[in-house]
């Protein structure tokens, strides 16, 4: 099972290696480690996000072991949505059932609309919606974009995709 954990490390040498050790011990397979040295917390700790695969029965052991080493586990859980994409919709976004538009993505099970902002300049004027879609992988991002394109054609919405989407 693929999981992710947000940790906070002391800004001292050796901490990162120490934080990876329990994963090794419980046969976890590390997929990625992102070390946010530039985003120190007010406590002076450094946030680190680790994505890994592990037998779920071992997750509690990993957590305990980390805490024993003095590492703060901020969050641990399933990380299904590892890719994301931004999209903008222009048109009668609300009056064409925004709930349904979102649901078409959410109901796939492999993607969901995570962040939504709306601008509604006035009745009868086109509004715009920004949304961020998260999905389980690159292919699923592609599928979500084609769903949105289809919805856009049905509801007469202009769907504006990011130029880097093809490279995700």
């Amino acid at each position: 099972m693929r999981l992710s954990m947000d940790l906070e490390l002391q800004d001292i040498p050796g901490q990162l290696m120490q934080s990876l050790e329990p994963f090794k011990e419980y046969k976890g397979n590390i997929i990625s480690v992102v070390h946010h040295r530039d985003r120190k917390t007010p406590r002076g700790t450094v946030p680190v996000q680790i994505v890994f695969e592990i037998d779920p029965s071992n997750i509690d052991n990993v957590k305990k072991h980390l805490e024993k080493n003095g590492i703060v586990v901020v969050r641990a859980g399933e990380d299904r949505f590892i890719e994301e994409v931004s999209v903008l919709l222009i048109g009668h976004v609300v009056h064409t059932d925004l709930g349904d538009t979102i649901n078409r993505i959410d109901s796939t099970g492999f993607a969901e609309v995570e962040d939504l902002s709306l601008r509604m300049p006035g009745i009868d004027e086109p509004s715009s919606a920004y949304m961020r879609i998260r999905a389980t992988g690159k292919e699923e991002i592609g599928t979500s974009l084609s769903i949105l394109r289809k919805v856009g054609a049905e509801k007469d919405l202009l769907v504006i995709e990011p130029i880097e989407a093809e490279k995700i």
Partner: protein
């Protein structure tokens, strides 16, 4: 010194620019071993011919040849009659039938004259036919100015990136759309207000359809598809969405999330549509600038930017094409 006798067909914004650039740079260009001489200018009123070369100052600022032409011939007939080595074709673009430029270019190539053009129409309608015609007659057809104006794109790929596989070219190929979107974003103007401003500044035409509906960009996408990717694309093969439905609220919403909205042409995907471009992307250029990112297998992604239109700017691309015809021939020999 090699003399290059040029017939200029079309005497509008670009035609005037060509005459002016040749005048300004004639001495400098002699260093390349070429003496560029515009021996005739043709518009719908007739042809002005001077075998010693036409100096634009002799025209006293005339905008057309009305009352100045000294020969009563236009179009193909003028191309046939005037003794020249090269035709610069700068008549208005028509993307549906390509005329009158298509006939002019066919005539010139059949007569064994090189052609340099900024006119997209003939190339969108009949690119492969014209390329073959040039080859059969042992002459060259150059068209850098049809895509991206003064921004070197085709020559960059053909010369400097030779040996690379070109995977894609994506960019902003229409300065009018870029200007309108930039103003809507920066000044929070509505689309129609930004369009009016662009028209007042001479950036947009009285009938802006050609630009804002993405037709112009699609034409450029067809030219790139055929010339760089060896395709046989037609205008109707391109999926086109213009910028009319983009609102300033959407532009500002995008900005807050780190994006700009730009009209992007995509080759070989053959798509033209507004897209989100990260604010820090090299494609995020404003105003009337054009930009293109060329994705290659060996050189990574290379981005060029420059002015896509303008009298002198477009003429500069035309003059570069003229010089390259003769300088690359010297290497061949």
């Amino acid at each position: 010194m090699r003399e290059v006798r040029i017939s200029l067909v079309g005497f509008g914004i670009v035609g005037h620019g060509v005459l002016e650039v040749v005048r300004r740079k004639r001495e400098l260009l002699k260093k390349t071993g070429l003496d560029l001489k515009v021996v005739s200018v043709t518009d719908i009123n007739g042809t002005l011919y001077d075998q010693n070369g036409i100096d634009p100052q002799m025209l006293h600022g005339a905008r057309t040849l009305e009352g100045i032409a000294n020969m009563d011939i236009i179009g193909k007939e003028a191309i046939q009659e005037v003794d020249s080595d090269l035709v610069v074709e700068v008549t208005p673009t028509n993307i549906v039938h390509g005329q009158p430029g298509l006939g002019h270019i066919e005539e010139a190539l059949s007569q064994g004259k090189h052609v340099v053009t900024s006119n997209k129409g003939p190339l969108v309608v009949a690119f492969n036919h014209l390329k073959e015609l040039a080859q059969e007659n042992g002459v060259m057809l150059k068209y850098e100015a049809t895509v991206g104006g003064t921004m070197p794109l085709i020559s960059l790929i053909e010369k400097n990136l030779v040996g690379n596989d070109i995977r894609s070219i994506r960019g902003i190929f229409n300065g009018t759309c870029n200007y309108i979107l930039t103003r809507m974003m920066e000044e929070k103007y509505t689309y129609s207000y930004a369009l009016t401003e662009a028209q007042e500044l001479g950036i947009a035409e009285a009938d802006p359809t050609y630009d804002v509906d993405g037709i112009d960009t699609a034409g450029k996408v067809v030219i790139l598809a055929n010339s760089i990717f060896g395709m046989d694309a037609k205008y109707d093969d391109v999926q086109v969405t213009g910028i009319k439905d983009v609102t300033s609220e959407a532009l500002n919403l995008a900005w807050e999330r780190g994006y700009l909205i730009k009209l992007i042409g995509d080759v070989p995907a053959l798509k033209v549509k507004p897209m989100l471009v990260p604010r820090r992307s090299p494609l995020a250029v404003g105003g009337t600038l054009n930009v293109a990112s060329i994705e290659t297998d060996l050189s990574g992604t290379i981005t060029v930017t420059g002015l896509g239109a303008g009298s002198i700017e477009t003429a500069s691309a035309i003059v570069s094409d003229i010089v390259s015809i003769y300088t690359s021939r010297q290497i061949d020999a």
